[in-house]
């Protein structure tokens, strides 16, 4: 990143924070100012107390870990499932068209809309959340994989055939690496959808055995602890940024960028 860009970004953030603080300190929104724009100082204090005191005697840290555990479980199952199903779809035309239909139908269904059905089937427990995460990642990821497979240049496939690759060895040796940029964009979309789906589900119903970050936000809202609520949103953003720059960006750098495959 260019130095100029970094400075511009920092200035932009500082300006936003300054406006926030100005509105908050001068009660520009009347009596509700405190609720809508708690002062930055309060939010920072809440950020710390979220972790030290937490809610119901449990630190926010525990909620975050619970959420991440469910998320990771769902992501792994969803991504593996997408790979297996897309791999199978390359084997036959009929399978591929059925799978495409499934993707078109289920990708449009918001996970939260399925909640009532899932709760009836699975009961109120953490499996429901895992199911939602799988649902949010499986379809976009599958679509990216299938699109990626279709876009693999014929010459790589033929070069692969020429050295004896077919079926599974062709999928692993040519199709996957050749469609890596599609896989990564699928991963980005899938991860973001899963993270949002998880928090929405947790806000709708909390699971006592496995309370997560969405439940925490909702409790803060019902108790009018708005500074704590904002502080929790910051935690969500921080986790998102860590995943983007700590996980996805390095993968991108070591694959597509290194191989000159980014368009």
């Amino acid at each position: 990143m260019k130095k100029k860009d970094i400075i511009a970004k920092i200035l932009f953030v500082i300006t936003l924070l300054a406006i926030w603080e100005f509105v908050s300190k001068n009660h520009l929104l009347g009596p509700r100012s405190e609720l809508i724009f708690p002062s930055l100082e309060k939010i920072m204090q809440a950020f710390v107390s979220n972790f030290t005191k937490g809610y119901a005697g449990i630190s926010l840290w525990t909620y975050v870990i619970n959420s991440l555990k469910l998320l990771l479980k769902g992501l792994v199952i969803g991504i593996l499932g997408a790979f297996i199903l897309s791999g199978l779809a390359t084997l036959s035309h009929t399978l591929a068209s059925i799978f495409n239909l499934l993707i078109s139908v289920f990708d449009l269904l918001p996970g939260v809309a399925l909640l009532p059905v899932i709760i009836i089937v699975l009961g109120v427990n953490s499996d429901v959340i895992v199911f939602l995460v799988i649902h949010s990642v499986l379809w976009p990821m599958s679509r990216s994989i299938l699109d990626g497979f279709m876009a693999v240049p014929k010459i790589y496939v033929e070069a692969g055939n020429n050295i004896g690759l077919k079926n599974l060895s062709l999928i692993l040796g040519v199709y996957f690496p050749a469609s890596i940029s599609y896989l990564l964009s699928g991963l980005k979309v899938g991860w973001a959808r899963a993270w949002r789906g998880l928090i929405s589900a947790e806000m709708i119903f909390g699971i006592a055995s496995c309370p997560g970050i969405g439940l925490y936000i909702n409790q803060m809202r019902t108790n009018m602890n708005n500074a704590e609520m904002y502080a929790t949103l910051i935690v969500i953003i921080i986790i998102g940024v860590i995943v983007q720059y700590g996980v996805l960006a390095p993968i991108e750098k070591n694959t597509v960028k290194k191989w000159g495959m980014s368009s």
């Binding site: 790589y156 033929e158 070069a159 055939n161 020429n162 050295i163 690496p177 694959t255 191989w259 000159g260």
Partner: protein, 251 residues
């Protein structure tokens, strides 16, 4: 073992669509001796690339293709193709890995042995210093060199080359033709080389054939010019004229 690397018997190929079919290759019979450097010439659209792709096993066809007397129906490592497209190397593998991977597929299990073979092949195409480069860091000519090195390393019965130098600039093309000539004289591979460039065929080939539109062989002759061939070589003009006339006959 027969003296032929390749025998093609009554090979035909047609493309079909809803209403009509077009015949690309019609009843081709062709035998290629071991170590022969066969150049296939012909006007654009005459089916020379299709013929090469049939031999490689990429196309459905009628008729039989035998490599060293065994019938070939699918692609295999006994026939390695060098495409015209520069982007035939796997971009996710380095130059060296692009050669090591097929060697592993071929069943050479010792890493040291694979590396030795790959490095030897790279030195033949003068790319020893580039083994850790990724294909996107190479020029078009270098990529073609790697593709040739890959083919050499695998020691196939036949190397199939589909206008590998056609998209290169004149200077690089000349350079690669010279290297190809040296390589073909040192190696014991049969080479089938598709080109539309008469001079290239005369410089490289030991035998030239011309395909007519519709895919019939209308000229088949030994290239008896003494290597290295230049436009001043004895008999060059006459040979050039014969090939040219055959190519333009069908236009």
């Amino acid at each position: 073992m027969s003296e032929y690397s390749l025998r093609i018997e009554s090979l035909s190929k047609a493309y079909f669509n809803d209403t009509e079919s077009s015949i690309i290759l019609k009843n081709i019979n062709l035998s290629v001796r071991k170590n022969e450097f066969l150049c296939i010439l012909g006007p654009s659209g005459c089916g020379k690339t299709t013929l090469l792709r049939c031999i490689a096993g990429f196309e459905e066809h009628t008729g039989q293709i035998y490599v060293n007397d065994s019938l070939c129906t699918v692609p295999g490592m006994d026939r390695i193709m060098v495409f015209q497209d520069f982007n035939q190397l796997f971009p996710w593998k380095t130059v060296l890995q692009n050669i090591l991977f097929p060697l592993k597929r071929k069943g050479i299990n010792s890493t040291a042995e694979r590396k030795e073979i790959a490095r030897e092949a790279l030195s033949k195409v003068k790319l020893s210093d580039y083994e850790s480069y990724y294909p996107h860091q190479l020029s078009g000519g270098m990529k073609q060199r790697v593709a040739i090195a890959k083919a050499l390393a695998l020691k196939p019965d036949i190397i199939l080359m589909d206008e590998p130098f056609a998209a290169l600039d004149a200077m690089t093309r000349r350079e690669l033709q010279n290297e190809m000539l040296t390589i073909s004289q040192e190696e014991s591979s049969t080479i089938i080389f598709v080109t539309h460039n008469i001079q290239e065929a005369l410089i490289l080939g030991t035998r030239n054939i011309v395909l007519q539109k519709g895919g019939e062989i209308i000229l088949d002759e030994e290239n008896s010019l003494t290597k290295p061939v230049t436009p001043n070589s004895e008999g060059y003009g006459a040979a050039w004229q014969r090939l040219r006339d055959a190519i333009y006959l069908s236009c």
